[in-house]
Amino acid sequence: MIRVHDVVKSFGALPVLRGVNLVLAPGRVTAIVGPNAAGKSTLIRCILGLVRPTGGTITLADGRDVRLPASRASLGYMPQQPSFPDNLTGHEVLAMLDALRPDIVPDSTLLERFQIAEQLHKPVRTLSGGTRQKLSAVIAFRYRPSLLILDEPTAGLDPLAASVFKSAIVAARDAGATILLTTHVVAELAVLADDIAFLMDGVIPFAGPVAELLRETGASSLDEALVTLMQSPAASVPVAALQTVDVSRARMHGGANR
């Protein structure tokens, strides 16, 4: 579980996050959605410890700060643009990352399912964009993470690889992992997301199960619901939803919304 409490982040005089509150529950996939420049990347970077919040805290279930190196032992991260040292082979990249976690036996399931073990003997610079993306996915899942952060994960994957990847996300969720996802592909959200955290102008006016979002907005589809949210000023979002910032609530209510 991740608890984001009153997180504020400004770059100089420019406020990007203006008091974000969010609880990411274990065993659920939470999608952060919102218009461009809403602060999604900054929020993810704060959770990863890449960006230092100006105010507020981000903690794990046991109260540890996510920025502590030990907190990242159980973190899997897949960036939007995979990038690796050009002159190392894929296997050398994996060996480097394996060595940083000698206490974890790497999980090669995704490597085998993607069938890229042979290609990873070549230098990264010779690999296609799709293979690099698969390598990035392999790394994210390799250390049996209890927290997965996936930034536009299926961009660049072929349909078969995307399908394999989505099944890996579902399996990790069913095993109890906390999963945070960003994507602009609404069809993907509909398939993968249990909860939606809608971020706009640096705040989260809605966070809750997908079914609740549909109910609150009166929309018949997720697509329509998101458009409704994006076209409404934050103040006009239903009050009940404004107060809903704890996505773990769905679980507490036993609310399966898929």
């Binding site: 960006v51 991260y77 990352l97 976690r101």
Partner: protein
């Protein structure tokens, strides 16, 4: 849900893991190979044409003073900018920022220093030009060159950490190289000429300490006793401190030039938002 394989690793061990893999990447870069080969060819040609070891060393010194800052600062910075996204991935791993910084710094500096030493020493070995006079001076040239690599890779880190935009950062690196390697001496000389009626010796000595390239030049030229090539500040330096203490003092100042940008870069890396 974690399978246990072995015990935890220490901070320096993590830095070493990063350094080892980064080094492997850096030594395979074409520009690093070209740099080592270029130094080798330059040294070999000079030995064939000039024949004598000490005079070749002085010529090589001039090549080294121009080339090392350029390679370590400009190409080092370019290489670091290219690795930004992978650095972010590494920051999401269970490793502290300081360990990661040490690993990345060593991963760039060690292969560059090794390429420099090999490029400088191998021509003398192949041409059988190492004798009792040449060997100690060549060793000193190699040592000073390694220190220059350490200084300018630290500066490359500082630039890439502080200047987020790649084009602007590379511009700063090129201007830094141009300023320290090319323009600085001319500027100092112009100042010395303009204020020649004033007691400016101390100021000139300070000016020399403020440029690591001047320090490296002075160490080597005091060592080979090439007063004519030492330049104004170098001659002042030797006159003020003598040969032995002059070398020791300049070497100490050069070590401070390694430590200061390294520390500033490490601090900036700890605090930077990626």
């Amino acid at each position: 849900m974690t399978a246990i394989a072995s015990g935890p690793v220490g901070r320096m061990e993590l830095a070493w893991i990063i350094a080892a893999h980064q080094s492997r990447d850096v030594v395979r870069k074409r520009w690093v190979m070209a740099y080592a080969a270029g130094l080798f060819v330059a040294g070999d040609l000079m030995l064939r044409l000039a024949g004598s070891g000490p005079s070749v060393l002085v010529s090589l010194l001039n090549v080294v003073l121009l080339l090392i800052p350029l390679i370590a600062l400009v190409l080092g910075a370019a290489s670091l900018y290219s690795a930004t996204e992978f650095t972010e991935l590494l920051l999401a791993q269970p490793i502290s920022r300081r360990s990661l910084f040490i690993g990345l710094y060593c991963g760039l500096t060690v292969p560059l220093a090794a390429a420099t030493v090999l490029g400088l020493v191998l021509p003398f070995v192949f041409e059988r030009a190492l004798d009792a006079t040449t060997a100690p001076t060549l060793a000193m040239l190699a040592a000073v060159s390694v220190l220059l690599v350490c200084v300018f890779t630290a500066l490359a880190f500082f630039v890439t950490i502080c200047v987020r935009d790649r084009a602007r950062g590379l511009g700063v690196a090129i201007m830094g190289w141009l300023g320290l390697a090319v323009l600085y001496d001319g500027l100092v000389l112009a100042l010395a000429s303009a204020f020649r009626d004033w007691p400016i010796e101390r100021g000139m000595l300070a000016a020399m300490v403020l440029n690591p390239i001047d320090l490296a030049r002075t160490i080597l030229l005091i060592r080979v006793d090439a007063a004519a090539l030492m330049g104004y500040t170098g001659a002042l330096f030797r006159a003020a401190f003598g040969t032995t203490s002059g070398v020791a003092l300049a070497a100490l100042a050069l070590c401070l030039w390694v430590a200061a940008p390294w520390w500033l870069s490490a601090r900036a890396f700890d605090r930077r938002d990626f």
